[in-house]
């Protein structure tokens, strides 16, 4: 019984923050997006997909949201308007409703032939996922690694920005210096 309660709490939470993502200004929308990620990862836990729940938290809430937060903060974007004119938002909402109704319509038509009360929690989700991932989808997994690698190299190439005479220091050169570089001299006559 409390499982249904948890589902409804998380569902309403994610719906509210999803709506807020769309309708609030820059940084608040990122915060609400983090709320969406956290509630969806809760739903994954409810579904028994522990690995994915934690992965969602780590990748999205942990690193990616930090990145998204950087955008409006670092570039001190001065929001000069909150929402577009009513006409555009009305257009957006109608598109949303249309999309939602057709999806919902599809669901209503198809009766649930499949039994829905199955033991959700697989014995050890992570172990099961691991076996599947590294055997059947091994090449796909390598491909994912390649995609991420390309993304990292691309971003670093884009973002390298040097210039500005900044004094760089070689650590090796710093360590060698020691106390005996000071020599004690006599200020004799005329000798400078």
């Amino acid at each position: 019984m409390n499982e249904a309660l948890v589902f409804y709490v998380l569902a309403t939470f994610s719906i509210i923050s999803a709506v807020m993502v769309v309708f609030s200004c820059a940084v608040n929308s990122v915060l609400f997006l983090i709320m969406v990620f956290i509630s969806v990862s809760g739903l994954f836990l409810l579904l028994g997909a522990e690995f994915l729940a934690m992965m969602l938290l780590i990748i999205y809430a942990g690193a990616f949201a930090v990145l998204l937060l950087m955008l409006p903060l670092m570039l001190n974007i001065k929001e000069t308007y909150q929402h577009t004119a009513v006409k555009c938002s009305a257009f957006g909402v109608t598109v949303g409703l249309l999309l939602f109704s057709c999806l919902a319509f599809v669901l209503k038509v198809k009766p649930q032939r499949l039994e829905n009360d199955v033991s959700l929690a697989v014995a050890n989700n992570v172990k099961a996922l691991g076996e599947v991932l590294y055997t059947d989808y091994a090449y796909l997994f390598q491909l994912c690694g390649m995609v991420l690698f390309v993304a990292i190299v691309g971003v670093i190439m884009l973002m390298i920005r040097n210039g500005m005479e900044i004094k760089e220091h070689k650590i090796a050169g710093q360590i060698i210096r020691s106390a005996d570089e000071i020599e004690l001299k006599q200020l004799t006559d005329g000798e400078k």
Partner: protein, 320 residues
């Protein structure tokens, strides 16, 4: 039932951090030729908390007031939540889920993300500066620390923390994975901002802490979270690398001592090291520190993960 266990955990954490504050001040004062009151020193943190509670809360003018009030609590819970998973003794653990290590990693990442938002919510340029500083530093060491945890998971086989501790029965993981132990220890130093891996308080406010703007209750949570963080990091190090509640040798003399005491001893060992680094070292400059994290630790721990995986594969299947 869970509620009572949570209350026990929170009160234990509170008492432990009060003791930690007192011991830290005593040790630092001793190293620095100063003396602090013996008995009343213990009451000092409680008096601080009490005083802070009645301070006036100053809220930023901007539209971030709601976030400003909410975030310290979130930051505190994200750190205390990790304690739910840590096994203090054989069966004594709040929630022994089978993806325990993954949960810990997720909580580490979440608390870092919250630091940025705390810096942003206080609506001041200097707090934001401090937040970005400490987050960039933590992320630099975070990845290699997570890889260090992956090495431990590889050799222990399961993510459940109590299984990891039992798997360390014949040899603690800090011996075979010693470099990874060092990597994770340095990550713990970064997280609990102990020198030399800390943002240097260069005295002026240009790179202050992210918690400058927080006054009374907000500051209690953040300061409290900092000490609970120290306890947490030392507990995680004992669980992953120092064999949680297992005595070092199976000698019957050691078995007499209850295993909780072993867990406490190892934790206090790490805490002592944290405290003494506060007095001993100067602080790396920020960019050396971040370069050190990215260019030295990350490749090294990647190589170590591959080596560990290779070793377990060979020792498990026997063929090369």
């Amino acid at each position: 039932m869970i509620i009572s266990e949570i209350i026990i955990l929170l009160s234990a954490l509170f008492a432990a951090s009060v003791l930690l504050i007192y011991v830290e001040r005593k040790l630092i004062a001793a190293v620095r030729l100063k003396k602090i009151a013996r008995v009343y020193g213990l009451m000092q943190p409680i008096a601080d908390a009490f005083k802070l509670f009645f301070n006036e809360t100053i809220l930023p003018r901007g539209k971030t007031q709601v976030a400003f009030m909410l975030l310290p609590v979130l930051f505190f819970t994200s750190i205390v939540a990790c304690w739910a998973v840590i096994p203090v003794d054989e069966g004594v653990v709040l929630a022994d889920i089978n993806a325990g290590a993954l949960f810990l990693v997720a909580m580490f990442f979440l608390s870092i993300c919250l630091i940025v938002v705390i810096g942003w919510a206080s609506d001041s340029k200097y707090a934001m500066f401090g937040a970005l500083h400490s987050v960039a530093m933590m992320v630099a060491y975070e990845l290699s620390a997570m890889l260090a945890i992956v090495c431990v998971l590889i050799s222990s086989g399961s993510m459940r923390l109590s299984d990891i501790v039992n798997a360390q029965a014949e040899m603690w993981y800090c011996l075979p994975h010693f470099p990874m132990f060092v990597v994770f220890f340095i990550y713990a130093l970064v997280r609990t901002n102990c020198p030399p891996f800390r943002m240097s308080e260069s005295g002026n406010i240009s790179d202050g802490e992210y918690s400058i703007e927080y006054t009374s209750v907000g500051y209690i949570f953040i300061a409290f979270a900092r000490y609970v963080n120290m306890l947490l990091m030392s507990a995680v190090i004992t669980v992953f690398f120092l064999g949680g509640w297992l005595p070092p040798f199976e000698v019957e003399l050691f078995l007499l001592i209850p295993s909780v005491i072993w867990f406490g001893l190892k934790m206090s060992l790490c805490l002592l090291i944290f405290i003494f680094t506060k007095t001993a070292f100067p602080i790396y400059r920020y960019d050396n520190l971040v370069q050190f994290g990215w260019k030295m630790f990350l490749p090294f721990s990647l190589v170590w993960v591959i080596a560990a995986a290779g070793y377990t594969l060979v020792s498990a299947t026997g063929k090369f």
